[in-house]
């Protein structure tokens, strides 16, 4: 048993095949020895290769997993994970944290499309857990999330939190077009800037207690330096999506 399992991925040949890493999650590696982890199959383009052939693995029998190396073309990092901690030092590709059920996924760089979203065709996406991204992410972040928390310290792309059922998306930067369309009872919190979709109605300006609790948690658990003006400030609340259930909310920062 070690404190942590560290998997250092080799640099992928440029312009070549991508990796699919959706099976390599801390809950599944928890009971495996170092040698067993090395034998796990991952898809590289059309080929299935043992993980040990494309990465160096240190440690075993730990719920804390770390990915190092070049993962910008790796899809499905942390997808479906149920528990434990997966921290990634750099950027990842599309579909990170898709259909996640629990645990904590921390991405040091940026992420591609469909971060913490649903599998294609599925009516529910993320069911629990937390995703924190230091950089920016692509389109459809948090789509169809039923529970769970996604925090993006950079910008998010278009159609963020599309079809949100009841999850929470927090964005420190800019939000792309059509955020929260089809939102049933989820929360979208924007510290940066966003356009309010036409199917959201302005409700009020207030100081939400829930954000003080949430930001306090982000400071403590993830060491995110949330400025005091957000924690204690006043926020605009918009209700939506009124073409859906309409019990969701879009919160944008108004003033200190």
């Amino acid at each position: 048993m070690t404190d942590r399992i560290t998997i250092t991925f080799d640099t992928l040949p440029s312009g070549g095949e991508g990796l699919e890493l959706d099976g390599i999650t801390p809950d599944r590696l928890l009971t495996l020895s170092n040698a067993e982890i090395a034998k796990l199959p991952v898809w590289m383009g059309r080929r299935s290769v043992p993980l040990g052939d494309i990465a160096a693995i240190q440690g075993e029998l730990s719920a804390h997993l770390r990915f190092e190396g070049d993962l910008a073309r790796a899809e499905g990092v942390g997808a479906g994970m149920a528990s434990g901690v997966l921290d990634v030092t750099g950027s990842v590709g599309d579909g990170a944290g898709v259909a996640m059920r629990g645990g904590s996924l921390r991405i040091g760089g940026s992420a591609g499309m469909r971060l913490g979203a649903a599998l294609p065709g599925a009516s529910r996406g993320m069911l629990g857990g937390e995703i924190v991204v230091t950089g920016s992410v692509g389109a459809e972040a948090g789509a169809y999330a039923r529970r769970g928390l996604i925090v993006v310290r950079g910008d998010v792309g278009d159609s963020a939190a599309r079809g949100l059922i009841a999850g929470t998306l927090v964005v420190f930067g800019r939000v792309g077009a059509d955020a929260g369309t089809g939102n049933k009872r989820g929360s979208i919190v924007v510290l940066g800037s966003t356009a309010v979709p036409p199917t959201y109605r302005f409700a009020c300006v207030y100081r939400p207690t829930v954000l003080r609790v949430l930001f306090g948690y982000l400071r403590r658990a993830y060491s995110i330096p949330v400025a005091d003006r957000f924690v204690a400030g006043r926020w605009k609340r918009y209700c939506g999506d009124i073409s859906e259930l309409g019990k969701g909310e879009l919160l944008t920062w108004a003033e200190a």
Binding site: A118, L119, P120, G121, A122, S123
Partner: protein, 541 residues
Amino acid sequence: MTTLRIAGGTVYDPANGVDGAVRDICIQDGTIVATLPKNAPKLDATGMVVMPGGIDIHAHVAASSVNTARRLVPEQHDADPARAPDLALDEDGELVIPRSGSGGTVPSVFTTGYRYAGLGYTTVFDAAVAPITARDTHAQLDDTPIVDAGCFILLGNDAYLLRQLAAGATDRIQDYVAWMLGATRGYAVKIVNPGGVELWKENVREVKTLDDPVGGEAKVTPRAILEALTTAANALKLPHPVHIHCNNLGIPGNVATTLDSMRTVAGQRAHFTHVQFHSYAGERGKSWASGAKQIAEYLAQHPETTCDVGQVMFGPACTITADGALEYLLHTSNGGKWVNVDIELETGCGIVPFNYKDKSAVNALQWVVGLELFLLSPDPWRVVLSTDHPNGATFQSYPELIHLLMDRAYRDEKLKAINQKFLVGSALADGIAREYTLGEIAIITRAGPARILGLTQKGHLGVGADADITVYTTDADRTKMFATPRYVVKGGTLVVEEGQLRRAPTGQRHGVRPGYDTLIERDVKDFFDRYLTVAFENYAV
């Protein structure tokens, strides 16, 4: 010449009056024979149960609608990837290429064939094929290995047929049916919600009585459609005349519609499908109750009427039907994914993935109604097993269904755990002691469907029958026993060995080609030229 002796098994062959006798079954070149030389290859089945291969009389496995359903549930494919089986060389020393696929409620084509065979089923009929999409069905069946298969052709809302009824030209209908079955390589006439799909296209969502006019024509009614097609199919002496899905599926009080439909065609051979969905008492918007007893009473008096149950099992399903109006109702009830298709002049189609829950009062009643139909059945030969795969449940739930029928303690335990709201006064809630025997299971899954389908070569183990045989290891846990047959022989080829799928030969197709007066072709061609997207010359498969 390939031979095989299945030696020393306990044989259940109800069509030949064999109920649990120990005897050998001899196979030569794909057919069952009386004897074989002593030195013929032998499969020791001592202590095991031997039955004919299973026959699914009603499933949705290969139709354009099934492909649409596959596209609708990609998340199920992700959750249930199907590895390619580890096939051995076939008898000619050739390797049939094994295929991977995906499972879920609507498995991919190859996986469908493998999984049916893995369950000991060797014949499957696709129950709903729109004539214009028959080519698609046959292409899919070409990629559905092992099982023998055929398809039923949807005619109950066909525009040409309705026109003939309106014009009073009933003499043309028999020729049209015969031409259509030949052109589509179909096996039987299927009627789905007669007239109701056409009404749905006109935004009329309910068939109040069997005498509702369709398309404003007094002569065109659900009753007239049922009568005309049943008469035509019987006159053509089809092996399986008509396969009827009644009006008002899934609506409380519909048992009255079902009995009226049965009486309409009384005296003629007719098969009523998934009657569970059509056996509800109660009143729309007010109450639900079981109507299974009334159906059982009717069946007891009418030996010409047959049915399959269409049992609901709790868990994920995918409803696929030509009954578009019903699917709209279902979609409004669960708010889930929904597809509605207008298949030009022929029929409609609707699809809604659905999850049957034991906590739901209506779903619990459906489960009970299905079991009551089995347990109150006056004749296992005429009330056969189906789940309307994948509508009520997938075919992979058959073993558990058999377990429920064979084991009262198991059944009563399950009954206690479900929603009781609509079960007051139901026969099952009051307690039914009946337990199916292995012989009766062989009837409702093999011999009965074969007889109803008019398949003389199948569903029995007499001399001359196709060598489709399933061998089970005896186990008090009937779910386990029926889920994992020890050996399966299809057409003389050993496809499952020691519980592993090892060979995947190509199955046969069952179709009919009845004779007709060729004058009909001229009239149909004229109709096609005016109204159809496909030319008459390109229509036939």
